[in-house]
């Protein structure tokens, strides 16, 4: 099957078209499109990238220059849940390196890796804008504040 045969699902297309109404040019919606499709498929594979590019009448390389620019677009497979620990300055002052090591140990992976059961990917992320509650982490899109070695286990257990 060639790239031209593959298509975005009708649902994906519908969601992207709804966003298109907000911009004068089709291509302007590309970051929304990447996010929408990633929400359905978990990550953006080369094939997925081609499908979106075709739908928006862009070249895959042009779209990839946008996809690779963002921290929250995954061009490699990730686990069912992505655990982001903030590693910026306020969280650093409050011990984010210890949080990172704690998460690493509990999950048995280093930052950038996915657990063997495919459940969690561990990634650093820049300041999450909740510095009065440092250290913080985000699982998928859910923020967890004032994380301590005592609370981190219970946070991870919430995700199945």
């Amino acid at each position: 099957m060639s790239a031209g045969d593959r298509m975005l699902t009708p649902e994906e297309q519908k969601e992207i078209e709804a966003e298109m109404a907000h911009y004068p040019l089709k291509q302007s919606v590309c970051i929304d499109a990447l996010k929408i499709v990633q929400r359905h498929r978990g990550w953006i594979s080369d094939e997925t990238l081609q499908e979106i590019a075709q739908f928006l009448q862009m070249s895959p390389d042009q779209l990839d220059s946008v996809a690779t620019f963002y921290n929250l677009i995954f061009r490699q497979p990730v686990g069912r849940h992505v655990v982001f620990y903030c590693d910026s300055v306020s969280c650093w002052l409050l011990g984010c390196n210890r949080l990172r090591d704690n998460l690493s140990e509990r999950l048995g992976v280093r930052p950038g890796q996915t657990t063997a059961d495919g459940k969690f990917t561990l990634l650093p992320i820049v300041c999450l804008g909740a510095c009065d509650h440092a250290p913080v982490m985000m699982v998928d899109s859910e923020l967890h504040r004032d994380v301590t070695p005592q609370t981190v286990g219970a946070i991870l257990e919430k995700y199945t």
């Binding site: 907000h22 911009y23 004068p24 040019l25 291509q27 302007s28 919606v29 590309c30 970051i31 929304d32 990447l34 996010k35 220059s65 946008v66 620019f69 963002y70 921290n71 929250l72 677009i73 590693d87 910026s88 300055v89 306020s90 650093w92 002052l93 409050l94 992320i125 820049v126 300041c127 999450l128 804008g129 909740a130 510095c131 009065d132 509650h133 440092a134 985000m138 899109s141 859910e142 923020l143």
Partner: protein, 426 residues
């Protein structure tokens, strides 16, 4: 009198819920928008000019002056655009989050007024993707405003039209830079653009555009409702209004407070944040996010406004201070900051892509006890290449600020890493 009124946070509820349209209007919400729509657009801009409102995103540019650069009247090109910069990614900064989560209609009303002033046809809220609660609250407030006829066609039965959309980004510091944000909204890599042309005449899709920080915008309804003199009277200094100040780090009560512009760093640190945690000593602070120079003990009585902090050798920036204590290593802190800037650089100009990553490696080596005495001069020299004028945007100049000031105020700590061949804090 300063300290009596809190126009930015008056509707913020302690329980963390947000007022809906009805509650917002009960508190006088959208009266200022109705009033503004009856005024000639240049009159609104003049009022903002007279108020001395300056940009709260960090640069402090006079807001009314910025708006006055947008062509208005019958010969002006259309569509024109307004973009609220809600890409709050400056490390240590968490003030716009409070406004969007706690009072979403205030931002929408502010944007209606600003759009009227510059005769914008379309307004975008450029929100960082991680702010999911802000997104939820803004989406629901936008829907309410559309249903009430405050957005869309013939808003407030004024004969004017305004579309307003929420754009959720996907996480990159560069998107918060004015021209990077324009490229990001157009669906391109968020590299900065060369200026001129300035966004006020050639911004989104080549059309006149104003990009304005959330907190800056949220000051506008109060100015329209109560006048420029009222706004100036809220402040201790010539820079008008109140300011959302914050503190993070090992202080007793990290948080955010709306205080008169020009409140001293000492009052924020000692009274509002409760001072350092027990057993810790104050070493220094970054007054307004990662890209501001350190201030130390001798500067604590400086008034936190755009002019006074600059006189002390730093910038007020976003006004949310990051506090360094004596049990954290200043070299480690600067290594962390420089790593952030190197990682988030878009790689467009040489001082940034080359200089920042080089400095980041050098700081990591110093922190690991592998530094050499000449490193300190190399680093001080390198920060000069990052100064304004050598780069397209303010990322590298911002990165220079904590580093150059740390080399000045914490030099002995840097030297100990070299002589002891280890981090004294590790």
């Amino acid at each position: 009198m300063p300290g009596q009124e809190k126009p930015l946070t008056k509707n913020i509820r302690p329980d963390g819920t947000a007022p809906d349209l009805k509650a917002y209007e009960r508190a006088g919400g959208y009266d200022a928008a109705r009033k503004a729509l009856k005024l000639d657009p240049p009159k609104v801009t003049d009022l903002v000019k007279q108020s001395n409102l300056r940009g709260r995103g960090g640069a402090g540019f006079p807001t009314g002056m910025k708006w006055s650069f947008v062509p208005v009247g019958k010969d002006a090109p259309h569509p024109k655009y307004l973009a609220a910069n809600a890409d709050e990614m400056e490390p240590g900064t968490f003030k716009d989050r409070l406004l969007m989560e706690g009072d979403p209609h205030l931002l929408i009303e502010s944007m209606i007024i600003a759009s009227h002033a510059i005769e914008a046809d379309v307004a975008y809220i450029f929100l960082r993707g991680e702010y999911t609660l802000s997104a939820e609250r803004l989406e629901s407030a936008l829907a309410e405003a559309y249903r009430a006829g405050y957005l869309g066609q013939n808003i407030f039965k004024s004969g004017k039209n305004l579309e307003m959309y929420l754009h959720l980004s996907a996480g990159r510091y560069m998107c918060g830079e004015e021209t990077g944000l324009l490229n990001a909204l157009e669906g391109k890599r968020a590299n900065p653009r060369a200026k001129p042309p300035f966004p006020q005449t050639s911004g989104l899709w080549g059309k006149p555009t104003i990009v304005q920080n959330v907190e800056t915008l949220c000051n506008v309804p109060g100015i329209v409702a109560n006048g420029a003199d009222w706004f100036k009277s809220l402040s201790y200094t010539a820079d008008g209004g109140t300011k959302l100040y914050g503190a993070s780090g090992k202080v007793k009560r990290p948080g955010l407070w709306e205080l008169p512009m020009g409140t001293t760093a000492r009052e924020i640190l000692e009274e509002h944040a409760g001072g350092m945690r027990d057993g810790l000593k104050f070493r220094g602070l970054l007054p307004g996010g990662a890209s501001t120079d350190f201030l130390v003990e001798e500067h604590l009585d400086v008034r936190m406004d755009f002019t006074e902090v600059q006189k002390a050798g730093s910038r007020m920036g976003t006004g949310t201070m990051i506090v360094l204590d004596d049990q954290n290593c200043p070299v480690g802190m600067v290594a962390n900051l420089t790593h952030f800037f190197a990682q988030e650089s878009c790689g467009w100009c040489t001082p940034c892509w080359s200089g920042l990553s080089w400095a980041s490696q050098m700081l990591d080596a110093l922190e690991a006890g592998k530094g050499k005495p000449e490193f300190l001069d190399y680093l001080a020299h390198e920060t000069k290449f990052w100064s304004p004028g050598n780069t397209f945007c303010a990322l590298a100049p911002g990165a220079a600020e904590p580093l150059q000031s740390a080399l000045k105020y914490f030099r002995a700590d840097f030297e100990r890493h070299i002589t002891e061949k280890r981090c004294p804090w590790s």
